[in-house]
């Protein structure tokens, strides 16, 4: 696998940032896009555009076919049983909101318990908090240790007859922890508790097999998997998608509409009201093809190499502290530098063309747990190279110089 050739597929890397080549280390936030995805968006609007699923003219038929091809690709990508288990949403955030809202409507009542973990992104906490507010549900947080690993024993202790659902991330966007979700799902299912997996971070980094995991729901954002913004998916087991009520009401999600009653379409249409981000869904297929062309095993190996190299190099810089030391770690490294606030780090690194993220990364619970206000984060994608990490480390040394620290 030649990374330089892969990098050439991403037009953004021909741009200079502050006169320097772009070193993009913010893929956990959103990944850059290969030319095939960009071209597809352009091509679809220029040559193929039509709304899907409604009209019977040629353009509509073609657009509908393309739209459904993405659903089929996604089914294969995550190894779902049927393409009807794939619902298009705006992003993983909306996917989780969809489950919290529809599941909450009939299955959550006052005093019922929802378990999440201290690793969760705000998007896998706030939607459940709504149920705490509206239904009087109780949210329990499974604790993590200093390494950033979830204490599975403690999580198991929280499960009770009142637990209605468990929502857990597959990969932490701060510590890079790869969570043993399969183990958690096995324990939960023994107690008849369904599990939602937030796969927003894992989708671009690890192999996803929803059949093997046996998860009840899985949420993914397209824009983190080298795809367009505005499109995500929710995988849901057929039994749930049949049982749960619809989410947003409108065109396309109905069966029959009368003055006194309305019946709803089957999944996935039941959950896809209104005009969907058509071009984005069609172009999203190109990002799945791009991922497949590389091969997830190659991608994992490349990111493992980058992560190990980066950890080794960063640990040699005395002032740098790496946040968390999980048993299994993906290409996400959060760190602090002694006496320099992460915002200042991000500004100084940007001057060298190095794009990182600074702040709480939408994980205030996790930061509070680790006694931190903010951290700096470097996260990797398929286009990153060993040289990028060398530039990062040099730029970090420069922070100390700018701040006149030894």
């Amino acid at each position: 696998m030649n990374i330089e050739n892969i990098k050439l597929q991403f037009p953004i890397f021909s741009k200079k940032i502050n006169g320097k080549p772009l070193v993009y280390l913010d893929s956990s936030n959103s990944s850059q896009k290969p030319i095939s995805v960009i071209n597809k968006l352009d091509d679809f609007y220029k040559n193929e555009f039509s709304n899907v699923g409604r009209s019977i003219h040629s353009l509509a038929v073609n657009a509908t076919n393309k739209f459904e091809e993405t659903r089929e690709s996604m089914k294969v990508f995550i190894n779902a049983n049927s393409k009807d288990e794939i619902i298009f949403t705006k992003n993983a955030t909306e996917s989780i909101n969809l489950v919290a809202t529809t599941f909450g409507q009939h299955n959550i009542k006052k005093g019922d318990e929802i378990i999440i973990t201290e690793l969760e992104h705000h998007s896998n906490y706030v939607p459940w908090h709504y149920l705490r507010e509206s239904k009087g549900a109780i949210i329990k947080f499974a604790p993590i240790n200093e390494d950033g690993d979830i204490l599975i024993n403690e999580l198991e202790k929280l499960m009770s007859s009142k637990t209605k659902i468990i929502a857990v991330t597959h990969l932490s966007n701060v510590t890079g922890t790869i969570v043993p979700v399969k183990e958690i799902i096995e324990i939960a299912h023994k107690k008849n508790i369904p599990v939602l997996v937030d796969g927003c971070q894992s989708a671009p980094h690890i192999k996803i097999d929803v059949k093997d995991l046996d998860c009840d729901f899985y949420a993914i954002s397209g824009h983190k998997v080298y795809g367009p913004t505005g499109v995500g998916i929710l995988y849901g087991k057929k039994k749930w998608l049949e049982k749960l009520p619809p989410y947003i009401g409108g065109g396309g999600m109905i069966n029959e509409v009368k003055k006194d009653k309305i019946s709803y379409a089957q999944a996935p249409e039941k959950y896809e009201a209104g005009t969907m981000p058509t071009a984005e869904v069609v172009a999203f297929n190109e990002s799945i093809k791009f991922m497949n062309s590389i091969g997830i095993e190659n991608l994992i190996e490349h990111e493992k190499k980058l992560t190990n190299y980066a950890l080794e190099k960063l640990k040699k810089i005395n002032s740098v502290k790496i946040i968390g030391n999980p048993k299994n770690k993906a290409g996400v490294i959060s760190f602090t530098i002694k006496e320099i606030h992460p915002h200042d780090i991000a500004t100084i690194l940007d001057e060298d063309g190095v794009a990182i993220r600074a702040g709480h990364h939408c994980c205030q619970i996790l930061h509070e747990k680790l006694n931190l206000v903010a951290t700096a984060r470097a996260s990797f994608g398929i286009y990153n190279t060993i040289e990028d990490i060398d530039i990062l480390c040099k730029a970090i040394e420069n922070c100390r110089k700018v701040f006149d620290l030894k």
Binding site: H341, G359, V402
Partner: protein, 154 residues
């Protein structure tokens, strides 16, 4: 853009050793400022006397070098000023970092003008303007006697 314009020696020095840090004795006004996007927080304590002059002003909080330095410098500049003058200085500061306008007030001496102008480089970094302005907005809340927590997103 030039990092040295942003991180001038005055800023680095105030960032490292902020003046007027901590609670002040007998404060009769205080306000909290918080930026939910980055987690920066600041608490400004004021002692306004009967003539509405700022007798004491101190702060507590956590943030980046820009935010700590900006707050430290602010406390030095408004201490001893009347409420009206303090607000005038705040407005001049805010338009300097947002629009690049000059500091014209005669209420600051040359040394104070140098200090306030050391923060003018922030204008070149739009994402950092909020770091510099949070405490100044919080000061206004404190001057107005508002107890409410100020939440500034940008």
């Amino acid at each position: 853009m030039n990092l040295k314009e942003l991180y001038q020696d005055i800023i680095l020095e105030h960032g490292k050793s902020p003046r007027n840090f901590g609670k002040c004795n007998g404060h009769n006004h205080e306000a909290k400022g918080y930026n939910p996007l980055c987690g920066d927080q600041v608490q400004v304590y004021l002692k306004l006397n009967n003539e509405k002059n700022v007798e004491e002003v101190t702060f507590e909080g956590s943030g980046c070098a820009i935010s700590i330095a900006s707050t430290s410098i602010m406390t030095e500049l408004v201490k001893g000023k009347s409420l009206e003058t303090a607000k005038k200085i705040v407005n001049e500061f805010l338009s300097m970092v947002k629009t690049g306008s000059e500091i014209k007030t005669k209420d600051l001496n040359e040394d104070q003008k140098t200090k306030i102008m050391s923060l003018s480089g922030v204008k070149q970094y739009p994402m950092r303007v909020k770091c510099a302005t949070l405490s100044w907005h919080t000061l206004v809340s404190a001057l107005d006697g508002k107890k409410k927590r100020l939440i500034q997103r940008n």
